[in-house]
């Protein structure tokens, strides 16, 4: 789309001008003509790349674990009402706790290793997938279920062959929303745990004392690109996989 490219070019132009004319002090907000080359040169720096890969890998790992936990849990909660009634109160208590609030405790308890940030990210990423799976089961067309029943499918077969496929688009939407959350939690944890390898720590170190705002912004832009790319990729696969079911379910 040329219009969106023009828009992006305009955005960078405004940023450049704001910085060059000292509308915003260049010291705080270096122009893109400094930040983007800095990003390119950082991508040639093995240590920076290692940090970025560590952040990305932790995010993906957390997302995979969260999916493996949340989808079966959502299927059970969505299809067995007594279990749902019993567990929902606990869930309603846990869900509002922001995972970033657990960072200090988790660092104190489990140390600054990568499993801490993965565990925290799993905690944050579980909820959208769990709820989207659960509500997707509520939305399954009863007529589809009855059709399957009429053809002699048992409870498990209905769940596997009717409920799961019709819930799948919602689940993928949940996964897409959770990616952003997992990335955010991983980076937040890195901001606080000195000595860890990760994008958040790189940015934190650069912002303190060193005053390397070009590195701060380069890292921020890269994180934005990762989030943007993951979102676009998951949206694309949604369209490819579920062409029969245009995007619905909790979006944005």
């Amino acid at each position: 789309m040329p219009a969106s490219l023009i828009g992006l070019a305009g955005f960078f132009a405004v940023w450049e001008v704001a910085s060059r004319t000292d509308l915003v002090p260049e010291y705080y907000l270096p122009p893109p003509s400094v930040v983007l080359p800095k990003l390119v040169s950082l991508l040639g720096d093995p240590e920076f790349v290692r940090a970025a890969v560590a952040t990305f890998a932790a995010t993906v790992l957390a997302l995979v674990i969260a999916t493996l936990v949340a989808v079966p849990a959502g299927l059970i909660l969505g299809s067995v009402p007594p279990v749902r009634r019993a567990v929902m109160t606990l869930v309603e208590f846990l869900r509002p706790i922001p995972s970033v609030a657990l960072i200090p405790l988790a660092l104190l308890t489990f140390g600054t290793g990568p499993d801490t940030k993965v565990a925290l990210a799993v905690y944050g990423a579980v909820w959208p997938i769990l709820f989207n799976t659960m509500y997707a089961l509520d939305e399954v067309d009863p007529l589809h279920v009855e059709t399957a029943r009429a053809f002699g499918s048992g409870r498990v077969a209905v769940l596997a062959r009717v409920a799961l496929p019709s819930a799948a688009p919602f689940v993928l939407t949940g996964v897409r929303l959770s990616f952003a959350i997992a990335l955010g939690v991983v980076i937040s944890t890195e901001l606080f745990s000195g000595g860890t390898v990760g994008l958040g720590q790189v940015v934190q170190v650069a912002s303190g004392g060193g005053l390397n705002m070009d590195t701060v912004l380069a890292g921020t832009v890269l994180a934005g690109l990762i989030g943007f790319g993951a979102n676009a990729g998951l949206e694309w696969s949604h369209r490819k996989l579920f062409a029969w079911n245009l995007p619905r379910g909790g979006d944005k």
Partner: protein, 266 residues
Amino acid sequence: MNRLSGVAQRWVVLVVAVGVWELVTRAARSGDTSISFFFPPPSEIAGAAGRLWFSSAFGDHIVPGVSRMLGGWALAGVIGVALGVLLGRSRGAMAYLGAVFNFLRSIPPPLLVPFFVASVGATSMQLPTIVFGAIWPVLLNTVDGARSVDATKVDTARVFRLSRSQWLVGVVLPSALPKVFAGLRLSLSISLILMVISELVGSANGIGNQLVLAQRDYEPADMWAWIVLLGVLGYLFNTLLLAFERRALAWQPRHSLEAQAIATGG
């Protein structure tokens, strides 16, 4: 009797979970393991909460933290809705700006903290961080909602010769309202998260600040008390907003389920 068993069914898991936690940590305490240190019994956490929440910390830390969060959220909401209505109804604006907004929204908001600390300063960066992080769901949802006004309403408004402001406030905004609320709820949970992070990093007061101090002092029960408070606040504000939303959208024939599916995330 039936009603009673329903209540029992609803609460049994939670009560048992807390009870087991209490018993296990109390038993572990005699064995003096680190588990009981980091996971104090719920009764101790409750004690710490009672001591901390209603002390001078209420005025010194809870109120400032909550006002930052609500202030930032409200500011993001007002700017997001106003911009969203205008951009959603202007031809082509989003074709140019959509990619920019989507990119800015993709930046994990916690990363804004180091930037704003360096540029605005550690003591005043909380509000800009919250506003910048929380604005995107409201803005993009409002744009979506504003675009969804159907052709018949456009014609109806033209037939009755509405002025531009009457059109935007009287027709576009109400049409977009269900989506606006979905955005506001997401922004609320983002505001809470950013309030915590920005106070963790560097703030003279606030709930996050107290959380860090408790960490430095090795006071797990206090940390738990603050964590629970954040959960309570998140639940409380979300419930209040939902109640307000139900009233504001009472005209809707069927409240959309999907909007609630992702009420809070993170």
